[in-house]
């Protein structure tokens, strides 16, 4: 009997000293998924919409490159990115479920690509095309933190779909406003890959939406990418636009 009591006390002691991460000063892990879904609304206010995305790439503070894109999103699994820069005009990126294709006007056919292939500078295709984190990642832990004076929940996210862009994310969500504030991205090897700051939000058609995020490259110091989002509009987009074989019909 004493042995059972000692074992029970030991387990309780271990649980107090090393609590499960879901209980480490935050809401239970079961609420983290809902938190993630609500924070996604700051990037996906409508079921079907499009926006204009501008990517600026800097090295040691100097602007090196910039690219403009029109991004059409339908649900949490369909994204079509139209490239607007003169040198890549007519190029499209299609994301469907976990798969991605790039359509190059010169080769005239969609080419299957991997999530790691970059769009421009330090922005991965997924930074533009995969904006529904709740669909791509599952929270495995939650804690609280204070980020520059703002109380935040910190979610540890791991991919739940093959097409998720990153292997592991630490994700800071503003406790009060339920807005993403910061993300630390890690490669499968464990290397610190990127830091993302969700810098600016603005009211668009009565909804608070993300309008700027900054990506710092942790593998190559001094490099950063600023992504700006504008011209958000809710718009019905035909289903066939998200069919791989329709890419050759897009102008």
């Amino acid at each position: 009997m004493n042995r059972i009591l000692v074992a029970a006390l030991a387990i309780i002691g271990v649980a107090i000293v090393f609590p499960p991460r879901g209980f480490a000063g935050g809401p239970p892990l079961s609420e983290a998924s809902d938190l993630l879904k609500r924070s996604d609304l700051t990037r996906n206010a409508w079921e079907t919409y499009l926006n204009r995305t501008l990517i600026r790439n800097y090295e040691d503070g100097e602007l090196k490159d910039e690219g403009a894109f029109e991004v059409s999103i339908k649900g949490d699994s369909k994204t079509l990115v139209r490239f607007l820069n003169p040198d890549v005009k007519g190029q499209y990126l299609l994301m469907l479920d976990d798969a991605m294709w790039i359509y190059l006007p010169n080769t005239r056919k969609p080419i299957r690509i991997t999530p790691l292939q970059r769009l421009l500078g330090d922005a991965s295709n997924g930074d533009v095309a995969r904006t529904h984190y709740a669909a791509d990642y599952a929270p495995s832990a939650i804690r609280e933190d204070n980020l520059d004076g703002t109380p935040c929940y910190v979610l540890e996210l791991n991919p739940k779909r093959d097409g998720a862009t990153y292997n592991r994310i630490e994700y800071w969500i503003d406790k009060e406003k339920v807005q993403p504030r910061k993300a630390e991205i890690y490669l499968a090897s464990g290397k610190h890959y990127k830091t993302i700051y969700y810098d600016k939000y603005a009211m668009v058609s009565g909804r608070l939406l993300l309008t700027q995020m900054t990506i710092l490259d942790r593998l190559r110091e001094g490099r950063k990418t600023i992504m700006s989002f504008s011209d958000y509009q809710s718009k019905e987009i035909p289903e066939k636009y998200f069919n791989k074989d329709y890419l050759e019909n897009l102008k």
Binding site: D87, D97, D98, N106, L116, D162, S189, E239, F242
Partner: protein, 428 residues
């Protein structure tokens, strides 16, 4: 096509799009490219000894302008090119690469009628299942000079969720003369399904008075870095023209007329074209593509040797004829030309390896391509390219070509040994 008719059709196409523009917004993009090339010639090859049989230029310059316009359902790609070299006076050409109407019959059914480029494969350098696509060079798969022409076709596609089904009728009718003539009819169909991350297309093709071809292509991504793809196309027999010397060890034969013949026209043997490939992206952004291509219609190493022995023999007669062979020299030159006509500019042998590595930073990019003939001991073409982005509108590139291989090998026997190209591209 005579240039006056070309220009008339080009103007008609622009007017057609222009008329549509009144009601629709117009989209356009274009590029002007100019590139100069210096070439080191292979003057010892028996295929073109002393650069005498088919003279090749030491330097050349090509300028092209391509404009893609679309308004509503009508879209077209129009081109203008000029070429000059140390051997030829400048030539000019106006082209309509594409001009087609894309009509939506319903929300999920589209019809395309006109001249259009259709590509169906998943491979990078080779596309055996691209049964209705225009021919292209494996050394320039991206068509940097915008020289590819569409084919005259009518197609109907049903988009069913993530899947699609297409039937296309192709007929490259001859509109170059006043007597309009229909060309050979072709019909092709493709059923595409996207299933659990797997792209799969089943392809069928029939060309009038020829044989049925059936095949498939597929692609799949594993993890964050690796993409795999494959294409297979099969047919019974072959309509390809071969030189009969590939079946004979007697290289000292003379033919008095072009002997090229479809040696396997009545064969019941299955001929397959197979492509297996993949691409891998490293964490630092370097992208590597590897492809293996097998073509049952290509020459084996032994058949190539017989072909080479035949050409080498006739080159000997044409270059240094013995007194008794003096009268045969012109016939030997003709025999070399007939033999050359049975080679394919896209590779004549059975097995090839293709490798491409590419790395780009903000302003510059580096690409290296190697194209290796496996059947002749590894002769190869190497193509390094350095490109530089001056602005969103202007870019430049420096491109080398090197042909490596012992004498008697496929790439060691080509007309050139190396070339260097410098190009400038302006985007509109």
């Amino acid at each position: 096509m005579n240039s006056r008719r070309h220009i008339l059709i080009l103007v008609a196409g622009l007017l057609l799009i222009g008329r549509n523009c009144l009601a629709q917004s117009v989209e356009y993009r274009g590029a002007i490219v100019d590139e100069g090339t210096y070439t080191c010639l292979n003057t010892t090859t028996p295929l073109n000894n002393g650069n005498a049989l088919i003279p090749q230029p030491h330097w050349s310059n090509v300028g092209t302008a391509a404009l893609m316009m679309s308004a509503g359902a009508i879209s077209g790609t129009f081109g203008f090119s000029t070429a000059t070299s140390n051997l030829a006076v400048p030539t000019y050409r106006a082209s309509i690469h594409e001009l087609a109407a894309d009509l939506s019959l319903s929300e999920n059914v589209d019809v395309v009628i006109g001249k259009k480029i259709l590509k169906w494969g998943t491979g990078y350098a080779f596309n055996p299942t691209g049964v209705v696509e225009p021919p292209r060079s494996p050394s320039d798969p991206s068509d940097r000079l915008s020289q590819n022409d569409g084919r005259t076709l009518a197609s109907i596609t049903a988009f069913i969720g993530k899947n699609s089904f297409t039937v296309v009728y192709v007929n490259d009718a001859d509109i170059s003369t006043h007597d309009f003539r229909w060309g050979t009819s072709e019909i092709a169909a493709r059923a595409y399904v996207f299933l659990d991350g797997l792209d799969l297309s089943l392809i069928g093709h029939y060309r009038e008075s020829d044989r049925v071809q059936l095949g498939f292509n597929t692609s799949y991504v594993i993890g964050d870095n690796l993409e795999l793809h494959a294409e297979v196309l099969g047919q019974r027999g072959s309509s390809l023209l071969y030189h009969p010397v590939i079946l004979s060890d007697d290289s000292q034969q003379y033919f008095t007329a072009n002997p090229a013949a479809a040696l396997y026209a009545d064969s019941h043997t299955l001929f397959f074209k197979t492509l297996l490939g993949g691409q891998y992206t490293f964490e630092n952004g370097i992208n590597v593509i590897l492809e293996y291509y097998h073509n049952d219609e290509g020459l084996t190493g032994r058949e190539w040797k017989r072909w080479m022995n035949f050409v080498t023999f006739h080159n000997g007669v044409a270059q240094t004829p013995s007194p008794s062979e003096q009268a045969l020299a012109p016939l030997s030159r003709a025999n070399i030309l007939w033999a050359l006509s049975t080679l394919s500019p896209r590779g004549s042998m059975r097995d090839y390896l293709f490798a491409r590595g590419a790395w780009s930073e903000e302003k510059w990019g580096l690409e290296a391509i190697a194209f290796v003939d496996i059947d002749d001991g590894g002769s190869m073409v190497v193509l390094p390219t350095l490109s530089w982005q001056f602005s969103s509108y202007v870019s430049g590139y420096l491109r080398g070509e090197g042909y490596i291989g012992a004498s008697g090998t496929e790439f060691g026997s080509l007309f050139t040994t190396a070339s260097l190209t410098i190009g400038l591209q302006v985007h509109l």
